[in-house]
């Protein structure tokens, strides 16, 4: 982890998802780009508000599934035709209809694993340390019943005093400064 010093960002706490979404939408409209929302359950409107519309999990899943399909079908063909040809009741060595079933299962297996682990990888998880965990109210609320908006210090508009005043205009429960 690169050594970072100073402020990670400003964290505003809200009681309801509606307040969070309104604040996030306004912040995005006002030109903030490095911002994120933290919620105890998926709030689709908040993702829309910060301009996060599409993700690449479906693509990863598709690629994984096709790889599983190709891997199993070609393995079955190679084993049954080349590596270990067996005469089973006179059926052709390349009896593709019988090969469909394991190939179907592996398509699902590989796409399922790609969806799950692809999602975690795209999320940058596992990440056991994160600066936000330094904020005491984040630990209490983010996974229970509070809704957070974080303006990150990397945003070119970021200024500690101005940013704090900006967030307070949304009448949040609190605004705290989060350090690395």
């Amino acid at each position: 982890m690169p050594a970072r010093e100073g402020t990670y960002g400003l964290l505003a706490e809200f009681d309801t998802p509606g307040d969070l979404v309104r604040a996030a939408r306004q912040a995005r409209e006002d030109g903030w780009r490095r911002l994120d929302c933290y919620t105890p359950y998926p709030v689709e409107e908040a993702a829309e508000a910060i301009g996060f519309h599409r993700n690449r999990v479906p693509l990863v899943t598709l690629i994984g599934g096709l790889m599983g399909l190709a891997a199993m079908f070609s393995m079955e063909t190679w084993i049954s035709v080349v590596a270990y040809p067996l005469n089973i009741a006179g059926r052709p060595l390349y009896s593709w209809p019988a090969f469909i079933i394991p190939a179907y299962e592996w398509t699902i297996l590989w796409s399922g694993l790609s969806a799950a682990f692809g999602m975690l990888a795209l999320n940058g998880l596992p990440q056991l340390y994160h600066p936000l965990f330094n904020a005491p109210n984040f630990r209490d609320g983010a996974t229970t019943d509070k809704f957070f908006l974080c303006l990150e210090a990397l945003d070119p508009k970021f200024d500690l005093v101005e940013g704090k005043r900006y967030l307070e205009a949304f009448s949040p429960v609190s605004v705290v400064e989060v350090d690395y």
Binding site: T16, P17, G18, R22, D36, C37, Y38, T39, P40, Y41, P42, V43, E44, E45, A46, A47, I50, F52, N55, V57, P58, T61, M72, M75, E76, I79, S80, Y84, L86, I88, R91, S95, A98, F99, I101, P102, E105, W106, I108, L109, S111, G112, L113, A115, A116, M119, L122, N123, L125, P126, L128, H130, F133, F138, R139, D140, A142, T143, T144, D145
Partner: protein, 471 residues
Amino acid sequence: MATSEIRKGDPGIDPATGEFRVVGQGETFKSVTEKISRIVLTPHTPLGWLAIFGIAGGGATVLLVAVTWLFLKGVGIWAITQPVAWGFAIINFVWWIGIGHAGTLISAILLLFKQTWRNSISRFAEAMTIFAVVCAGMFPLIHVGRPWLGYWLFPIPLTMNVWPQFRSPLLWDVFAVSTYATISVVFWYIGMIPDFGTFRDRSQNKVAQYFYGIFSWGWRGSVRHWMRYETASLLLAGLATPLVLSVHTVISFDFAVAVLPGWHTTIFPPYFVAGAIYSGFAMVLTLAIPLRKFYHLENLVTERHIDNMGKVMLATGFIVAYGYGMEAFMAWYSASHWEAFMFWNRAFGPMGWAYWVLIASNLAIPLTTLWVRRLRTSLSYMFFISIVVNTGMWFERFVIVVTSLYRDFLPSSWGTYRATKWDYLTFIGTLGLFTTLFLLFVRFLPMIPMNEIRMILPAAKIKPKAAAGAD
């Protein structure tokens, strides 16, 4: 849910939205979180839990003894021989894996159909799936006689240069069941990650914080993460749906591909899948009814859940009834002497009693009474029905496996089947193992998905901008 059920002033309906209430009145984000996490994070293990754990652990020990003896002596300690070479092991395998199917149905298929009532029961139904698959997966392995050669089932490059035979349904089973087990575990685990985050944050205990922190992969609830998470959950649900249908279909191929009267029928795949879901919902009820009472979860697993599960059982029960009817019809319509005899023997032969037990407990008792709403919402009656149906479904597999095999084409090769004490002990042992695993799950893992419950609370509704001033 039919609209005709809506009555004015029904406490089950939220007056603000006019929608069915899935969670009891007055629950908030905090109250559901506390209610569910308290069960796990409390340092005090309830005495009742310890008592049942003791009994279940005893059952699991019986399994250990039975399997150890089996490995020492061989499968001869079971009653399997010619002509009944598939005995309890295959019956139990099919029974257990069938039970697992309801968990996937609840977690995947009902998710795709946006049935939010599933949220309260999805997690422990998934846990039930996994533990049932654990019990099921063991049987074919110990049935092969030399389980230490079990790796021969997999296509692994070995020095002896022997490869599996991909035209056999038994090998298809290996891939179907192993995929099912893997995907079920992954789906279950992915669902728990945000809840592990909650546990990490709410736990007062350093060890618990450490472990739940690691299991949560550092989940912090960023909405970007949530959106990918939701996409992955939907995709996994979409993948698990064809998977669960294929698993019992492939298992039914084990039978249907054999040229044996009573097995060689095309009705088997749908009939097996419906039967699986039927018995699985019965098992969910067997687990849910005592659990909600013991942990006071009446507000989260409401009467509506019990009622809905009763309806699903009614529907799948009728598909199963159609399967039985078709078997009887084909025995006559096929004009095959062997089919007709098999059916006569199944119902009126020396083991005919098993057939009538199955008809009584799968069709006669549940399918006549589950129509009545008052009975569907009666906890004691539903618990009774769940036990009846589980027994009936076990007998269904007994009838399919044993009564098809013990009197085949040649009267000179007829035999009979009488299970030994080791057969019974192995079966009882898996019940013990299943209960043990389930109790551990209830004690250490979030048994109700907190993040999904929060999502369906009235407070999660985002009011449009115009109404912003009102709240």
